[in-house]
């Protein structure tokens, strides 16, 4: 049963692609019908303020998009996370076909991923002139970000600018149609309070300095011109802005994935084995944290033993309630690496509240992307689990929205 609500909209700063040549016009935009009437007061077409547009949105309860925010510094695994996330929902996410080849947007059947770098107000030359980094809020247009995310959430398509990372310029905009799930990923999804309020769920990828350094070395040493010193200098130079503007977003996130060096190997400086913590905020609507054995108690678990043999240095799990940045949280922690499939399935069978649809779904998702970085340790595991949690959140929201319009119709 379809429920229809009538809105009268203000003219948006961004254009909706509906021709405005005739006096009355009926246009179709997915499930929306827009009646656009112009009053006869002024034959001057330039005055838009007299036009009232009535927007009737009809949907079977899924007319509103859910918005997920993902914050992380550059080089911290956002793209890998995005690919895992879109894979959980089904379908591969690809850049929009036929558009700008340097577009940062990814689109799959259910999900659209928008890179917040597209909302830079200063391009590369502009930032160089002013001496600001991309991390600085002065380089970003939060008003436009808020307007457009709000519009997409309400089911209106927008023309979103494109920031071309190759040239460092702002390209002509591309059309973004409202998907079922919108993911905004970048440096500042939770910085602006208005944008924060639009998010249904938010995630922060917190990589510790040692691990960040190791990952950047892996990424950049193959590049001509880079040396250890230049990589170090780059990280150090960005640190003040990062700590001032990006790091504080941690306190607002519903889930934080913290990546630290391992504690299993004393004095390890290779950085290959990672200790990953999934910090889950308590009391978030539609989000029930993952736990080990008993919700709310403190557990330390080493799965390797009689039933499972692991190679050095093994795997160690822990779980417990904590306080993080003034919030009550539950933390699941994994230290070590998976070497074999049966280790993964063994661990999965002992975790509770995974929101998986069948036994072994987490393992299956991890194996599907065995070539992604982090597929054998906590980063891949927790990213996959967060993906399942988001799917669960989406289904709950859709179910709750389907109930309310029916209730209103009956009343």
């Amino acid at each position: 049963m379809a429920a229809c609500t009538v809105y009268s909209t203000q003219p948006l700063r961004t254009n909706i692609s509906i021709p405005t040549s005739s006096k009355t016009h009926v246009g179709f935009n997915q499930k929306q019908v827009v009646f656009y009437t112009t009053t006869k007061k002024s034959s001057n077409r330039r005055t838009n303020s007299n036009n009232r547009r009535y927007l009737i949105t009809c949907g079977a309860g899924d007319s509103q998009t859910i918005v997920i925010g993902l914050a992380a510094d550059s080089g911290c695994g956002k793209s890998t996370f995005m690919r895992r996330l879109t894979s959980v929902f089904g379908g591969a996410a690809e850049p929009p076909k036929g558009g700008n080849p340097d577009s940062n947007t990814l689109i799959s059947d259910t999900t659209t991923v928008i890179c917040l770098d597209d909302y830079h107000s200063l391009d590369r030359t502009g930032r160089k002139e002013k001496g600001v980094t991309a991390l600085d809020p002065r380089a970003n247009d939060f008003d436009l970000m808020y307007e457009q995310v709000k519009a997409i959430k309400e089911g209106v398509s927008v023309q979103k600018p494109i920031y071309n990372h190759v040239t460092g310029l702002l390209d002509p905009p591309e059309l973004i149609k409202p998907p079922k799930i919108l993911v905004i990923e970048g440096l500042h999804p939770m910085y602006d309070s208005r944008v924060r309020d639009l998010l249904d769920f938010s995630i922060y990828l917190d990589i510790s300095n040692e691990v960040k350094f190791a990952w950047k070395i892996q990424r950049d040493m193959a590049e001509r011109g880079h040396s250890l010193e230049s990589i170090k200098a780059s990280i150090e130079a960005r640190k003040p802005d990062f700590e001032a503007y990006i790091d504080p977003q941690k306190q607002y996130a519903d889930a934080v994935i913290e990546v630290l060096p391992t504690q299993l190997i004393p004095d390890d400086n290779e950085g290959k084995i990672l200790r990953v913590r999934l910090i889950q905020k308590e009391g978030v609507k539609y989000f029930s944290p993952v736990y080990l054995f008993d919700d709310g108690s403190t557990i330390s678990w080493i799965p390797c033993g009689r039933k499972l043999t692991c190679s050095y240095p093994g795997i160690k799990f822990s779980y417990g309630p904590e306080t993080y940045k003034g919030n009550e949280v539950s933390v699941v922690e994994m230290d070590g690496q998976f070497d074999r499939l049966d280790e993964l399935i063994y661990v999965e069978s002992h975790l509770s509240n995974l929101s998986s649809k069948f036994y072994g779904e987490v393992t299956q998702q991890m194996l599907k992307h065995a070539d992604f970085p982090g597929s054998n340790n906590g980063t891949g595991l927790f990213q996959t689990i967060v993906g399942l949690k988001i799917r669960d959140l989406f289904e709950q929201i859709v179910a709750s929205r389907a109930e309310t319009p029916v209730g209103a119709a009956k009343a």
């Binding site: 550059s74 702002l170 002509p172 200098a233 780059s234």
Partner: protein, 131 residues
């Protein structure tokens, strides 16, 4: 009769990249419509942002850009290590390194047969025989 090779220069011509302007001039314009030119840009132009058409690079030389940016960052920081220019220069290095690594990843995964084989392992082109 062996021909003498005296006087033939064997050095290959080297292109020296001076900067982003010369880069754009020397790149060929990619064939086929890249921008939909009849698309309205009115939504994008605001608060003094410059929007211009320029040739799309078929194979961008990001590596050259990364090298340049590192050199210019080192120069900018030679004076004052905490100034805005120095920080912005290193941020640019970071951005270009990220773009370079994404380009490398894209190149790695763009084998069309492998893509097809992933989805259709049972078709004739993709079967493997183990004996």
């Amino acid at each position: 009769m062996a021909a003498t090779m005296a006087g033939v220069s064997l050095s290959s011509p080297r292109v020296i990249f001076k900067g982003p302007e010369s880069l754009q001039k020397s790149q060929a314009i990619r064939s086929g419509p890249v921008f939909m030119l009849n698309q309205r840009w009115t939504g994008a132009v605001s608060s003094g942002r410059m929007v211009s058409i320029r040739p799309v690079q078929a194979s961008p030389d990001i590596t050259g850009k990364v090298e340049e940016s590192i050199k210019s960052a080192e120069e900018a920081c030679a004076g004052d290590a905490t100034s805005g220019e120095c920080v912005a220069a290193w941020d640019e290095v970071e951005e270009l390194s990220a773009a370079a690594s994404h380009a490398r990843d894209k190149k790695k995964t763009s084998d069309p047969l492998e893509e097809y084989r992933k989805d259709n392992p049972e078709t004739d082109e993709c079967r493997t025989y183990d004996n």
